[in-house]
């Protein structure tokens, strides 16, 4: 009779052990990025194993997620903001977040005296005001990477709401 109970225990323990191994083996393994990761780069590298899809949303309820197929070296470009994400395979990973900090970067390249190339080198759309003395002589909105020629002696850039 004692042997029967011993075998009961062995069967139960082995079953539980195998299930734990299996769940661990098939659960998404998230290597990067870390939870609550913060960066100024628009491009985020995801390293995830045991998952097929990556869901990213700016809403923790994932009401309108962007869906990506996970592959080796998956890099995703996003606008500045806080994002929530989870990996989905046989099981789902826990919800993690990361933040892309907004940055305003203006580069000024001289073309000829009084004329400049202005480049939006940051990661957000910019409103740019061009001054000549104290007067505003030009106003424009630059997308990320845009370069325009301006004539003036002061160039001021700030984040655009558009």
């Amino acid at each position: 009779m004692k042997n029967v109970y011993k075998i009961d225990m062995v069967v139960i323990l082995v079953s539980v052990f195998v299930l734990m191994i299996l769940v661990g083996y098939t659960s998404p393994l998230v290597i990067a990025p870390l939870d609550e990761y913060e960066t100024n780069e628009n491009s985020i590298l995801f390293v995830i194993e045991n998952a097929d899809k990556l869901l990213i949303d700016d809403n923790i309820d994932f009401t309108t997620p962007e869906e990506y197929v996970i592959g080796e070296g998956l890099k995703i470009n996003l606008k500045p903001g806080k994002y929530y994400w989870k990996a989905v395979g046989v099981f789902k990973s826990e919800i993690k977040s990361f933040t892309i900090n907004s940055e305003v970067v203006l580069e000024l390249k001289e073309i000829e005296e009084g004329r400049y190339g202005v480049v939006n080198s940051g990661n957000t759309r910019l409103n740019v005001d061009v001054y000549n003395g104290t007067a505003i002589v030009d106003k424009m909105t630059l997308k990320v990477g845009d370069e325009v020629e301006v004539s003036g002696d002061k160039i001021v850039g700030e984040m655009s709401d558009e």
Binding site: M1, N3, V4, I7, D8, V11, S15, V18, L19, L22, Y25, T26, N40, N50, D52, N59, D61, T63, T64, V69, P80, G89, V90, N101, S102, E103, V104, V105, L106, E107, L108, K109, E110, E113, G114, Y116, S121, G122, T124, Y131, G133, T134, G152, D153, K154, I155, V156, G157, E158, M159
Partner: protein
């Protein structure tokens, strides 16, 4: 500090080098509380990697409540970023809505930078946005209509509860109209709660299986103490012109061949000035021949025969790729077919087939492993507890 003075300050520092100046974050957004005091950190970005003299000043509506920790500072060439901060101390009361200030970071000329002819200077701004709740219950929302993979659209209503109190019931009623103004569908979403200061999205898909065409959506956001209206237009389906069939009678290689191409207009309105244009390509992708039909108007939900004449002089027996485009206005829908040309026969390959994108194909190996192992475990347990165990007990 008023704007005129700031411009004056900027004007003083006109002689400098080629600039690259940045600041992060571009904006700090906070919710108001009476007498609120806070310190906001930001980074000056020295992406050009040079010595810089920096001036910092606040301007705008909230400027009088802001003090910058260091109005002037140096950034060394070795410092890629420099951590700076400003403090603000807000009054007990501010009117509801958005209140802002700009913190201007200005690069002043460096005396070591003398050998330069650049006489412009650059400034960047980090913004402070303070939101003051509206009295009572108040919602701020917008409507977005996004095309979905399944051919329909998704209505998305991001709603922010910008009032003092929580919104206990927020729902959306959407009426869909066709371009003739006939209401064709209507739906209302389930109510949700949105705590004060929080943002939630109301999402609803629509239009799977609806006829292709343009539609108008009129939506009403209904919440505890008010409503907001939105109007938007959207399209379902592709351009709406579908090549259904190509018929050829009495094909003889080397002669001018008449092709009858049946095109269906699946759009919910008449399409004017449509025509078919074809390029016949050899195996290197070079155009060996081309033909074009006359233009026709196609009424909504009907089919039209387009005749085209293909001069096959110089075309050899073989199989050719055929790019056939149906064009109208700026729109174009392309069909990639194969023309198998014999002396007395033209066989058209590719029409009527749907090419799978293959995205959903294949079993997930892990799922199979998981299922097999679980089944084996269940079987072992059943075998032991229901059969072997009883035998051993006896």
């Amino acid at each position: 500090m008023n704007k005129g003075f700031m411009i004056f300050v900027i004007g003083i520092f006109m002689i400098s080098s080629v600039y690259a100046l940045g600041v992060s974050p571009a904006r700090t957004t906070l919710d108001f509380s009476p007498g609120m005091e806070n310190t906001v950190d930001f980074q000056i970005l020295n992406s050009a990697g040079k010595d810089m003299n920096i001036l910092i000043a606040a301007q705008g509506e909230l400027a009088e409540y802001i003090s910058v920790s260091s109005g002037a500072l140096n950034v060394a060439a070795t410092e890629k970023t420099k951590q700076v901060s400003y403090e603000f101390s807000l009054p007990e009361n501010l009117g509801p809505g958005l209140h802002t200030a700009d913190i201007i970071i200005l690069e002043a000329p460096n005396s070591a930078d003398g050998a330069t002819s650049v006489k412009a200077t650059v400034a960047v701004v980090t913004q402070l946005h303070i939101y003051v709740p509206y009295p009572g219950k108040h919602a701020k929302a917008e409507m977005k209509i996004v095309s979905s993979k399944d051919g329909g659209v998704t209505f998305v209503f991001p709603v922010i509860s910008v009032g003092e109190f929580d919104l206990t019931s927020v729902k959306v009623n959407v009426d869909i109209y066709d371009t003739a103004g006939t209401k064709i569908d209507s739906f209302i979403t389930s109510p949700i709660e949105i705590p004060s200061g929080e943002k939630k999205e109301i999402v609803r898909a629509w239009g799977i299986g609806a006829p292709s065409g343009d539609y108008v959506a009129r939506a009403s956001l209904i919440y505890d103490e008010g409503t907001q209206s939105f109007n938007g237009t959207f399209s379902i389906g592709d351009a709406g012109l579908v090549l259904q069939d190509i018929g050829v009678n009495d094909f003889k290689l080397g002669e001018i061949v008449k092709l009858n191409m049946l095109v269906e207009n699946r759009w919910n309105e008449k399409i004017e000035g449509a025509y078919v244009y074809a390029n016949i390509l050899n195996d290197r992708g070079d155009i060996v021949s081309k033909f074009e039909s006359a233009a026709h108007d196609i009424p909504s939900k009907s089919k039209e025969n387009f005749e085209a004449y293909w001069d096959t002089a110089g075309v050899k027996v073989g199989t050719y790729e055929a790019d056939i485009a149906i064009k109208h206005g700026e729109e174009s829908s392309k069909n990639s077919l194969q023309f198998k040309v014999d002396e007395n026969e033209l066989t058209i390959i590719g029409l009527g087939y749907v090419i799978s994108d293959g995205a959903n194909g294949g079993e997930n190996g892990l799922v199979i492993i998981l299922i097999i192992v679980i089944v084996v475990l269940v079987l072992i347990n059943l075998l032991w507890f229901l059969l072997l165990r009883k035998r051993l007990k006896k």
